[in-house]
Symmetry: C2
Subunit: 112 residues, 2 copies
């Protein structure tokens, strides 16, 4: 990859991937939903420190990127549930690599 130095298409796809998970909340929300589908209030409780306004915005962004799906359940009163999609789950391998590299990086930079 690093040897594809000049290829703008490679850079574009890497940027797409980074954009989809950027910020401090998206991955935390995906982690919360990886367990099982949840309602807004449940997610808000599990993702510590997030405001309702930000959660709302991030859920929208994750939905547009097809990483989660929003479903209106046929209950009374109606309830809305958020679930991770197969595409969202496909981030697994990327997150694995980021995780392992992040561990090695911490060791390299701060030596522990």
């Amino acid at each position: 990859m690093l040897s594809n130095a000049g290829c703008p298409k490679t850079m574009l796809s890497i940027k797409d991937a980074l954009d989809a998970v950027e910020g401090r909340w998206k991955l935390l929300i995906l982690f919360a939903l990886a367990e099982k589908p949840k309602r807004f209030s449940q997610i808000a409780k599990e993702v510590h420190g997030i405001t309702d306004k930000t959660l709302s915005k991030e859920l929208k962004s994750l939905e547009v990127n097809k990483l989660i799906r929003r479903t209106v359940l046929d209950t009374f009163p109606s309830t809305i549930e958020y679930a991770i999609t197969p595409h969202g789950l496909s981030l697994e391998k990327v997150l694995d690599e980021l995780h392992f590299w992040g561990l090695a990086h911490r060791k390299e930079v701060i030596g522990k």
Copy 2:
């Protein structure tokens, strides 16, 4: 990884990795240096659109993160060269995964 939902250490290492490559310039600079060690002016020419001030800041950040190494060469006048480190090269697998997922993501979201 996504099933390690509640693990803060996992989240931390992923965040470390994302931080190391965030922004629009760091990867472009690493790509330029993956080919061979280069001087400031060469990098500035190859990374289109970057200002000297930003390049200087980003090189510093990459150096602190041990992704590149800055060497003062024993020439007259002295020249400074930047080279990617083995740790910088170890990003290869992460970038591969980001690249492949980014391609799939583009297909999924905008269907092309």
